[in-house]
Amino acid sequence: MPKKNRDAPYDPDPSDPLERPLFVSPVTAGFPSPAEHAIEGKLDLNKHLIQHPAATFFVRVTGESMIDAGIHPGDIAIVDRSLEPVDRKVVIAVLDGELTIKRLRIKDGEWTLLPENKHFEPVRITDEMAFEIWGVVTSVIHLL
C-alpha cells in the first residue's frame, strides 16, 4: 500500500518483455602484463611545476614590461607565495593597489622593481609608497 506522498516507481508492465542477457561461459581473471614490474609513474606536470599547492596561484600577464625576460602578454605566470622574495627573482608586487610583474633587485637595503623592456622605467621603492610583495614567479606558461 503506497504511503501518502511517497511512491516507489514500480509499475510492472507484462505487455512489454525486457530481454536480459544470460552468461553461459565462465569469467576468467585478467592475465599479467610483461611490463608490470617495470612500470614507472606517469609524468605529472602539476607535481613538476607546483611545489606548494596551497600557496600557488596563476596570474595572467598583460602588457610588455617584461618581454625581454621572455614573458609575453597573455602568458600565465605560476606564482608561489611561500617563497622568499630575494634579489633577482621575478615577483608579483602590489604597487598603489595594482598587481605588477617585475624583476626584484635588492642592493644595500634598497629595493627596486625592474622592468625588462627598454621602454619602461625602473621603480625604486620608498617608505611612502604603498608596496608589498604578492608572490614569487617560478615559471611562465607561453603558448606558441
Binding site: N5, P53, A54, A55, F58, R60, L99
Partner: protein
Amino acid sequence: MARVFALVDCNNFYVSCERVFNPKLVGKPVVVLSNNDGCVVSRSNEAKEAGIRMGVPAFEVRELFESRGVYVYSSNYALYGDMSRRVMDTLSDFTPDVEIYSIDEAFLDLSGFKRINLSEYGRRIQTAVKQRTGIPVSIGMAQTKTLAKLAAHLAKKSRKADGVLDLTASSHQDRALAHTEVEDIWGIGKNYAEMLRKKGVENARQLRDADDSLVRKTMGVSGLRTVHELRGISCYAAETAPAPQKGITVSRSFKTAVETLGDLDEAISTYVSQAAEKLRTEHVAAGVLVLFLRTNRFQESGNYANSHTVDLPVPTSDTSELIRYARAGLREIYREGFRYKKAGVMMQDLVPENRIQSDLFDRVDRSRSEKLMQTLDGLNAAMGSGTLKYASAGVTPNPIWRSVAESRSPSYTTRWDQLPEVS
C-alpha cells in the same frame, strides 16, 4: 594529559578573499552580500565602523553604501571555497589534527606538542597563513575548545594581542572571562544570553562560577558542558574525521514569488543537477529523493507547503533519471494559485557508488549513463559549471527564480579565463 586546543579564525573572511586579488580594497569599507544579494554577510573593519551591522538587508543600507563609498560585492563562493581549502591545507603543516569547523574556522589539537611556546607557535601559524594565502587570521589557544574560541575572539579585538592569544595560563583566564559578554560564548545563543542576564550572569566569568544545578535546569546538559569547558574541563573531543554525509540538499528561496509549474520545473531541475553533481563528486548515489516547496512563511493567508518522497529502485546519481523523478513528483504536489517562495531537493540514503546492487528488472542502461555523466562533469569542470546542462533546467537566465548576483568578482582561482591580471 592536559589538552591544548587552538582556534584559528579568519578575519572578515569573504572580504579578505576579495582583498587578496584586489588590493585597492585594503583600508576601504567593503561588504559582501549573501545569495540573491540579500543581506550583508561579511564586512571589513572600515564597514563595521561605518555602522553597517552584520546580517542587515542590503536594501536597508543602500543609502549608507552610497554616502560612505562602500564597495559592495556579491558572494563568490567558488573563490571563498578555494581560499578556505588553501588556509586549511596551510594549517595542516603545523599539526595533523585539524578539525575544519566552518569555511573560515578550524580547531587545531596541539595537545601532543610538548614544551612549545604557544604564543610563538601561534604567531608562526598566523604569519604563514598570511604569507601563503593572503588571509589574516586570529588565533586563540586554551585547554578547551570553548575557551580557545573565546581567546580567538579576544585576540581579534585586542590591539595588544595583535591576533594571537594564549589563554592556557589560568591567571590570564580570569580577566579574559570577565571581559567576555555571555552572548559571545560559543554555545550561548541570544535566548540563553537574555535569560542569563535576567539572572545577573553577564559575562563568562560569572557563568563559569555559576551553580551547576541551576545551569543544568535552565540550559540542560549542553549548557553544563559549556560551563565545564569554561572551567578548563574539556568536554568536546577533537573530531578530525568528518562525519559521513547523511544527505545532500539543494534549495533556494526565490527573490520574487514563483507561481507557474514551468518556472518551478526549471528551478527543481537545476537543483537536482547541482545535487547530482555533488553526489558524483562524493562518489555516492542516492536511494531516496525528496522534493519540497512552500509559500512565504510570513504571509498571513494563502499558505501551502508540501513535500514528495521517491524511493528509487536503484540508487543513482544520474542527472536525467533524477530530474525525471523530481518533475513527476513536482506534479504531485504543485497546486495552482499559490505563490511559492522556496523549493528544494534532498538526496538521501546515500550509498557508495561502487556498492550499488542493481535490479534484475532495471531498464536503465547504467554504463551508458555513467559515461554520459563523466562527459558532463568533465566538460563543466573544464569550461565552467553550468556550461552543459539539461534543457529542463532552463536555457536562458530566468530572472524570476535565478539568484541575483550583480557584483560578483571573477573566479580568480577556479577559471582559466578569469585569472587575476598583472601588468
